[in-house]
């Protein structure tokens, strides 16, 4: 058994959800809400993992200059690959 929620939605959003239900995209307004919650929770979980990795990378960044040099280094591979593709 799940828990019940009582939601107050702006009329505009509620009407848009009803339109989607009428169009057959969702079986009911409840199904839409369940889907929206699941998707948001999944996205939050991914965002948490992404933040953990980016924060590790950000701690390593000493200056903008370092970032620019790394970008320049990375672009070398693309220059070669593009030149090869243009030869074909």
């Amino acid at each position: 058994m799940g828990s019940k929620l009582l939601l107050n939605l702006p009329d505009k959003d509620s009407e848009r959800i009803e339109m989607l239900v009428e169009a057959g995209e969702y079986a009911s307004k409840s199904e839409f809400i369940r889907f929206a919650i699941k998707r948001t929770l999944y996205s939050e979980e991914r965002m948490g993992e992404l933040k953990a990795i980016t924060s590790k990378l950000q701690k390593q960044t000493k200056s903008r200059k370092q970032v620019k040099e790394e970008i320049e280094w990375a672009k070398g591979g693309t220059r070669k690959a593009v030149a090869e593709m243009l030869k074909q």
């Binding site: 280094w73 693309t78 593009v82």
Partner: protein, 141 residues
Amino acid sequence: MIRPVASRPRVLLVDTTVLYSAIVYKGLENKVLFSGDYIFVTTDFVISEIQRVIIAKRGLSRQEARKMISFIPVVVASSDFTQEKLKEADELIGKRDRSDVPLVALALTIPGHDGIWSTDKDFEVVRGRFKVWKTRELLKE
């Protein structure tokens, strides 16, 4: 079926300079990337560059790098998709920097996008053709 939608968010094509900065530097680029206000599209070249550099220069494992890239809120277009526009793009920007050719090819391929987001001065040469957004302009929007 016509879906009821809110006003369309801007679709911006993003280059390595801003995307990499947004990931490794907690600055304005980071704010824009995670603002949720835009739809970002990039090329698989940009993604490969970022993957290469975070493995080689920042010590992330291949697995960590792949995972991180899969979580970034950016749509990635394959190079096959832009292949036909590669020569035209090379004529536009190739002399300035060949590494920017794939993103310009993407700009020529995608209809109805809202411009390129970059801080790279090389994109000045395509300003007449596409809107080139600086990071601060996007924060003011």
